[in-house]
């Protein structure tokens, strides 16, 4: 088998449709008789509903139905716990999930109270203004420290306080390490809220076909199979009666995976009840309070060091904000806890966290999913250690790297997939070497920075390292089928939100099947096309679905060769499979196209041998024993304007190791896009709430997504340490770019403004010109 496509920078199969406006997104679904929905959302963060008056809204022409929690009957129940807590004896977890509409008590701004269905979206939105709700406002616990304080207003009255969960994981003996350490550094670190803000908001369209007895749902979900199974359960249908289609999705980044958002129940339920299709498309204002958020932790962390800067141990006690409900288990704090360990050999670790409910929108994974926070803590601790011990910032990292011969490396705690936090492979020093060379680290520190400083320029450099646990289980699958046209169909259960799966998945199969990558039609996210799957999250699509595709393609290849060998009455090793046909080696004219061969494999009459399966088709599943650990290092040179405290990124370099690369174009895009989100998170984006739990900047004019002016040109290089956990050697790359940007900004700004000399430390993210001004003493 020759490799033509795997590893090559193939342009994408999906692009022509996207570039010409022909790709189907959820809001593009138009159906005869379509109704439109809008939701009345709470303006208060904590309140009891005394009464709801729907009379005027119901009387409005064009309003078809209005539902409150009372109307939902048995359909009203708290949503599922999407991710259970890890099976550890010491874990505390209080499951409190959200129902489709508020029954009595509101717990965050934006929580839905009433669901209006009308002949048009405009009428539905008009009717929201007709609804009169009598609220009894209640005191609010709008932030972590308020919620954690004794006597705080409680989010869930049946719990004694706002504690949602607790977990401690340890490795080695940190107390002993601290006792013999030359230096112990302890600080408090904060990482505040942001949101993923995909340019496409969420949306759901549902159609109930009573004659066919089937429900079809188009949903911007990242987990269509999961949603189908859940919907069938809630609506009293069999799973075979429900088809969920996640068509083209305009970005996801995590929050689109949550099940169930209230609308995901309400829209299909109303479509069945009204026997007319219903559409709901979230608007941007809703998105800011109705789609989940992330970040929001406070860490009290300490590091124990030997005189040469080697880490003896780390202790971390942190608080995590769950928001008003906790449907997503401990994925985020577990990722924070685990990813803090980074690429470093840390012999002792004592990490415990407490999650609190607050009167704010729900927190679930967003690109990085907690990894950022852990990386911020360890990287900042290392910067402080370097400063205190007089060691170069890059050098202290190098001294602590896990040695290349120490893999697989067991960190002795449990990761988010409930497998051991074990690094499959890695080689970190060459990555750092390449990074320092590309950024010109030594020359900058020795020559450029002193020269520029002498000229009055506030320039700084920063270097950070990280790992990314990727490619976790449980499993994904793929079905590959050679069609009679000769084209190949490849279906998988994962959805796609821009990652290029239509191309990278095709690349994996094309080489095995000897067909052009353009002749493979990838279907993702349609539960009628592929029945099983977990979803697109945790940088796992390429690793887990990709390996299943590789396996299935190999089986189809064998079927092709066997069928052709029978046809030509020759040995399989005499056959050549290429260019969409099988030929007998060295015999001109002895060739059959794959489409014709597929026809032979599906005889319409006659007898077949026992055990014969029709078609050139195979389905395969893959689940890794544990995740593949990717790694990376970022470096940046910035200039800070001392008047405005705005910064300009002069140079940005990424060296990344995601094992074997399927498509370097797509990998570059993933890394660059991740860095852009990291830049937003580090310096521009912050969800600002007041003490009453009101979001103060819920528009894109106020919540600042970085534009082309804020995101610099990046230089990207790779080192390649294949994963031993899958035959392709691949690791995930989806979140890599976004993870380490916070500490990079903090370190670079400190260096540019010479803050260590002034005794000022940047221990929080996001930063901003305004926040820097405050931290610098307002002068």
């Amino acid at each position: 088998m020759t490799t033509r496509f795997f590893g090559a920078p193939i342009t994408r199969n999906e692009d022509p449709r996207l570039l010409t406006g022909q790709a189907l997104f959820v809001d593009d679904v138009e159906l005869a008789g379509l109704l439109h929905a809008a939701l009345l959302r709470s303006p208060l963060a904590h309140a009891r509903i005394r009464s709801i008056d729907l009379a005027a809204a119901r009387a409005r022409p064009g309003v078809v139905a209005i539902y409150t929690a009372e109307d939902l009957g048995a359909v009203w129940k708290p949503g599922p716990l999407v991710v259970p807590p890890p099976p550890l004896e010491q874990v505390v977890y209080h499951t409190r999930t959200q129902g489709p509409l508020v029954k009595h008590k509101i717990r965050h701004v934006g929580e839905p109270i009433a669901f209006v269905v009308a002949e048009s979206r405009a009428i539905a939105e008009d009717a929201l203004d007709d609804i009169v709700v009598d609220y009894e406002p209640l005191p609010v616990a709008a932030d972590l420290l308020t919620a954690a304080a004794p006597g705080a207003p409680r989010v869930h009255d049946d719990l004694p306080d706002n504690v949602a969960a607790q977990l401690r994981q340890t490795k080695g003996d940190y107390a002993a390490a601290a006792t013999r350490a030359a230096l112990v550094i302890k600080r408090r670190f904060r990482y505040d809220r942001g949101c993923s803000s995909p340019i496409e908001t969420r949306g759901v369209v549902a159609e109930w076909n009573a004659k066919a007895d089937r429900l079809t749902v188009w949903d911007t979900t990242q987990a269509p199979v999961f949603l189908r199974n859940g919907l069938a359960g809630v609506l009293g249908l069999s799973e075979r009666q429900v088809r969920v289609i996640a068509p083209f999705i305009g970005g996801g980044f995590g929050p689109k995976i949550v099940m169930f958002y209230p609308e995901e129940i309400l829209v299909p339920w109303a479509a069945m009840r009204l026997e007319r299709p219903v559409k709901w498309i979230e608007d941007r204002s809703e998105h800011f309070v109705a789609t989940t958020h992330e970040r929001d932790q406070i860490h009290d962390a300490e590091i124990a060091l030997a005189p040469d800067g080697r880490i003896l141990g780390v202790k971390d006690v942190f608080l995590h904000d769950m928001g008003a409900y906790d449907p997503y288990g401990l994925t985020i704090p577990l990722n924070s806890q685990c990813t803090l360990l980074g690429p470093y050999a840390i012999p002792s670790y004592d990490s415990s966290f407490t999650c609190y409910f607050t009167h704010k929108p729900i927190v679930t994974p967003y690109r990085g999913a907690g990894r950022q926070h852990g990386v911020f803590v360890i990287e900042r601790l290392l910067d402080l250690a370097a400063q205190a011990l007089g060691i170069d910032r890059a050098e202290i990292r190098r001294r602590n790297f896990i040695a290349p011969d120490a893999f697989p490396h067991d960190n002795e705690i449990m990761f988010q997939d409930f497998a051991a936090l074990k690094y499959d492979s890695g080689n970190y020093a060459p990555m750092l070497d390449k990074l320092l060379e590309m950024i010109g680290y030594d020359a900058f520190l020795k020559d450029e920075q002193p020269t520029l400083r002498a000229a009055g320029k506030h320039v700084g450099i920063a270097v950070v390292c990280y790992v990314e646990g990727t490619g976790i289980g449980p499993y994904e699958g793929a079905k590959i089928q050679v069609q009679s046209s000769g084209r190949v169909s490849l279906a998988t259960g994962t959805g796609t939100q821009g990652q290029g799966h239509y191309t990278s998945f095709a690349q994996i199969a094309a080489d095995q099947l000897g067909v052009d990558v353009r002749d493979i039609d990838v279907v993702t996210g349609d539960t009628d096309q592929f029945y099983w799957g977990a979803g697109t999250f945790a940088s796992r699509g390429a690793v887990v679905a990709g390996t299943a595709i590789d396996q299935a393609a190999k089986v189809v290849r064998q079927k092709i060769l066997r069928t052709a060998a029978e046809h030509f009455e020759c040995a399989e090793q005499d056959l050549v499979l290429e260019n969409g046909a099988v030929a007998v080696n060295g015999v001109p004219g002895k060739s059959i196209a794959l489409g014709a061969l597929a026809g032979l494999a599906n005889p319409m009459r006659g007898a077949v041998a026992a055990g014969t399966e029709p078609g050139l088709e195979a389905t395969s599943y893959f689940g890794p024993p544990y995740g593949a650990t990717a790694s990376g290092a970022h470096a940046m040179i910035v200039e800070v304007d001392p008047e405005t405290l705005m910064l300009t990124i002069k140079k940005y370099v990424v060296v990344h190791d995601c094992g074997t690369i399927i498509n370097p174009l797509i990998v570059a895009g993933q890394v660059q896009g991740g860095v852009a989100q990291g830049i937003g998170n580090a310096f521009y984006e912050q969800l600002v709430f007041d003490a009453e739990g009101q979001l103060l900047n819920g528009t894109l004019a106020d919540y600042l997504l970085p534009s082309a002016l804020e995101v610099p040109r990046m230089e990207l290089a790779h080192t390649v340490t294949p994963s031993p956990l899958n035959p392709l050697g691949i690791k995930g790359v989806g979140e890599a770019g976004a993870i380490p940007v916070g500490p990079l900004f903090a370190q670079a700004i400190e260096n540019a403004l010479d803050l260590p000399a002034k005794g000022i430390e940047l221990l929080e993210i996001p930063l901003s010109p305004n926040r820097l001004w405050q931290l610098l003493g307002g002068s």
Binding site: E14, D15, D126, I199, A676
Partner: protein, 162 residues
Amino acid sequence: MSATRHRVSLTVNGAPRTTEIEARALLSDVLRHELGLSGTHVGCEQGVCGACTVLFDGLPVRACLMLAVQATGHAITTVEGLAGADGTLDGLQTAFRDTHALQCGYCTPGILITMRAFLDEHPAPSEAEIREALSGNLCRCTGYQHIVDAVLLAAARRRAAA
């Protein structure tokens, strides 16, 4: 709210179109849901994200900030009007594909339209000029670098062909 409907006649992608709509209907909604041109995407309905950008008599405008009745008698170009009649991608679209300048593709129609107008005015743009022109369109996937590369490439190819 009166539901009086207004007759609106405009030219879209070179073809005359007539529809009856409420006065409050946005141009973006009318293009998408009345005229079936769903390639124009809506991201914020507030004029910030730029996903809904269309050409209005040749100039880029936010279709979400304009009432459709205001477009009466005017010529609109949407993303569906960029490629050739046979579906052949135009130079900018081709460059976007060649450089991997789109991921989810949701912001892409607005960016193509904005950059199409920009390239007509700036046949030999610098990277800084492209970034400035692009700064009114938000993309959450790409980090913009490949988009800038695509515009540079399209401009270079256009000059080479001229």
